[in-house]
């Protein structure tokens, strides 16, 4: 008889949780992309063997507690200030790998100045930008990246671009800056997409070692709870509505 215990041996091992993630239970809602995005970044750090040389900066937003999950030294920044905090860290510890992990409200609204200027200085940091078009943690308010006509608790009749402004493509915006070296947009909603995200994150960390400038990886993601959909519906909605406006792929690649 085949017992589960007998299967637990090295030749049957097909997957192991990366040691760069702690064992703490994630607080994210079921179906949310943050967990996978965390894992891709953690695996990228693990693959490069830089866990002990990496310092991360968590934002304010759903991923405020990211510092519990990444098993690297972490600092919690004030809302939007992660790129400035990361600048301070990187400038005094240039030999370390420094990343920020930020949502759309944090990075593209309250932290726009910090984002743009860190990128414009070409800070040798990795900025991971998770864009789900909504303020998740505060309960589904309109974000700078909320799509036109998309409903939120502060745009209950849909985002009216005449009075609320158009969704901000901040990734395309910062790609214009000479300080950014590698800018790409991916997703984590399928295994294939998640792998692409991981490859991009790994490349970005490698460029950081070479002091190439700011690398910026956007992950277009979902928010089943605040979009008020099932996880499956939210991924479908994301493909049909988010991707046309925020197309996946490289935006700026090294020449």
């Amino acid at each position: 008889m085949i017992m589960a215990e007998n299967l637990k041996n090295p030749e049957n091992l097909v997957y192991e949780k990366t040691k760069v993630l702690t064992d703490r239970v994630l607080h994210y809602c079921p179906g949310c992309g943050h967990g996978t995005a965390h894992r891709m970044l953690a695996e990228a750090i693990d693959d490069l063997g830089i866990q002990e040389e990496t310092i991360g900066v968590a934002p304010v937003g759903c991923s405020v507690l990211a510092y519990y999950y990444f098993d690297v030294d972490m600092t919690e920044a004030a809302h939007g200030r992660a790129p400035a905090v990361a600048t301070g860290i990187k400038r005094v510890m240039p030999e370390k790998y420094v990343f920020t992990y930020q949502g759309d409200g944090d990075l593209a609204a309250i932290g726009t100045a910090e984002t743009i200027h860190a990128c414009n200085r070409g800070e040798n940091i990795l900025i991971v930008f998770v864009n789900n078009g909504i303020y998740g943690m505060t309960g589904g308010q309109m974000a700078p990246t909320t799509l036109e006509n998309m409903k939120s608790t502060t745009s209950p009749r849909g985002r009216d671009v005449k009075t609320m402004g158009a969704p901000l493509k901040i990734t395309e915006l910062i790609a214009q800056l000479p300080g950014t070296y590698y800018v790409a947009r991916h997703s984590v909603h399928t295994p294939a997409n998640a792998r692409k995200t991981k490859r991009a994150l790994k490349k970005a960390l490698e460029y950081q070692k070479e002091e190439k400038g700011t690398c910026f990886i956007e992950v277009v993601s979902n928010c089943p709870s605040n979009w008020k959909m099932t996880p499956v519906e939210s991924n479908k909605w994301m493909e049909e509505n988010m991707f046309p406006f925020y197309p996946l792929g490289d935006i700026k690649v090294p020449q």
């Binding site: 702690t22 866990q51 002990e52 040389e53 990496t54 310092i55 900066v57 968590a58 405020v64 507690l65 510092y67 519990y68 990444f70 098993d71 690297v72 030294d73 972490m74 600092t75 919690e76 920044a77 004030a78 200030r81 400035a84 905090v85 990361a86 600048t87 301070g88 860290i89 990187k90 400038r91 005094v92 510890m93 370390k96 100045a113 910090e114 743009i116 200027h117």
Partner: protein, 355 residues
């Protein structure tokens, strides 16, 4: 060997930061303190000591860069003037909450709003009562001379690391802009000490370091607050600094700090010449405040006059210290105006002697 120089207050502050072994300065230009970053840039500190100097995109970014560097256990400093210090309050609250060391200098100008670029002491309450959100305190040092500015930069770093707390040097446009003879201390080498509370890369076999001021459970947030309050008690017990003049036979005591303390000292001398037995207390730490000496003096003198370049802020702390035992009067000029010793003497005579 003594190294004496004639230096502008802001430049002396910058030179003191280099010599104190600072690892990083992050700042943003604002009058009347822009000479600090200009001097640091001109000194090419990266070559001289390896100190990082970076002009940030805003005061907000500058204090958050300080937060990042301080979290690595590095000696980080920023300077600004009143409107810019308002912008730094968010960051200061986070730094105090996360219990990190840093030094901030405020070369105060008159307000509110954009106010004036002339000197003032109108940020007293903001400095000593916390300034940003939440229950926290900055340790606040108030120099009256360029020499004290230099000495307090070193002291500020020492206190910041001793208590893991932000320390503010509350100066003003007079001290920042004037030139005085100053004795510089010798270069202190930059430290490569690795602190167990700092984010310097996870050590194998040890827990990762987390720097945060977030506690979602109220029980835990209360614990943080209790720890902070216990720390402040220690600060109050150990770190009070003040200068006293002519208090042994004093019947009246002037209380004034910083540049205003120097002007008031002259007023005290004029009062003495007219036969009034006036002494003076010049608080050098504004938090912790010299409560004990004021309380003791309240038992033997007839009254206190606080003199400030604001609409009456420190007078609140003097009244708390005196606790109703004797009258505490206030005289001040503000909005960038500076009181003269004669004006102060007049005010004293009107309030206490009878015009």
């Amino acid at each position: 060997m003594k190294e004496l120089r004639l230096m502008k207050g802001n430049e002396a502050l910058a030179e003191a930061a280099i010599r104190a072994g600072a690892d990083a300065y992050f700042g943003y230009p604002i009058t009347p303190q822009s000479e600090v970053i200009e001097y640091l840039m001109a000194q090419n500190t990266e070559e001289r000591t390896g100190m990082v100097v970076l002009q940030a995109e805003s005061e907000v970014a500058a204090i958050n860069m300080v937060y990042g560097a301080a979290g690595c256990g590095k000696k980080a400093i920023t300077t600004s003037s009143s409107p810019g210090i308002s912008l730094k309050q968010e960051g200061l609250s986070y730094i105090a909450g996360a219990e990190l060391p840093c030094v901030v200098a405020n070369i105060v100008r008159g307000g509110p709003g954009l106010g004036t670029i002339q000197p003032s002491q109108s940020d007293y309450l903001q400095a000593v009562k916390g300034g940003g959100h939440g229950d926290y305190k900055l340790i606040v040092l108030a120099p009256a001379t360029v020499q004290e500015t230099v000495d307090y930069v070193k002291l500020a770093f020492d206190l910041a690391f001793k208590y893991r707390n932000p320390v503010m040097i509350l100066s003003d446009g007079i001290i920042g802009q004037m030139m005085e003879k100053v004795e510089l201390f010798e270069q202190i080498p930059r430290s490569d000490k690795v602190y167990d509370w700092a984010t310097t890369g996870k050590e194998p076999g040890k827990d990762h370091v987390i720097i945060t001021s977030l506690q979602l459970q109220p029980e835990n947030q209360e614990k943080v607050n209790l720890r902070l309050q216990a720390k402040y008690k220690e600060v109050e017990k150990n770190e009070v600094l003040y200068e006293s003049y002519n208090i042994d036979d004093a019947e009246y005591v002037f209380v004034a700090f910083g540049s205003c303390g120097r002007i008031t000292q002259k007023a005290m001398e004029l009062a003495r010449k007219k036969g009034y037995k006036v002494g003076q207390i010049r608080p050098q730490t504004l938090y912790p405040f010299p409560v004990e000496i004021l309380s003791k003096l309240a038992d033997k003198v007839k009254g206190f006059l606080t003199v400030e370049m604001n609409a009456g802020q420190m007078v609140e702390d003097v009244r708390l210290a005196v606790n109703g035992k004797k009258p505490v009067e206030y005289y001040g000029r503000f909005g960038g105006m500076i009181p003269s010793p004669e004006e102060i003497l007049d005010a004293f005579e009107q309030k206490f002697i009878g015009g």
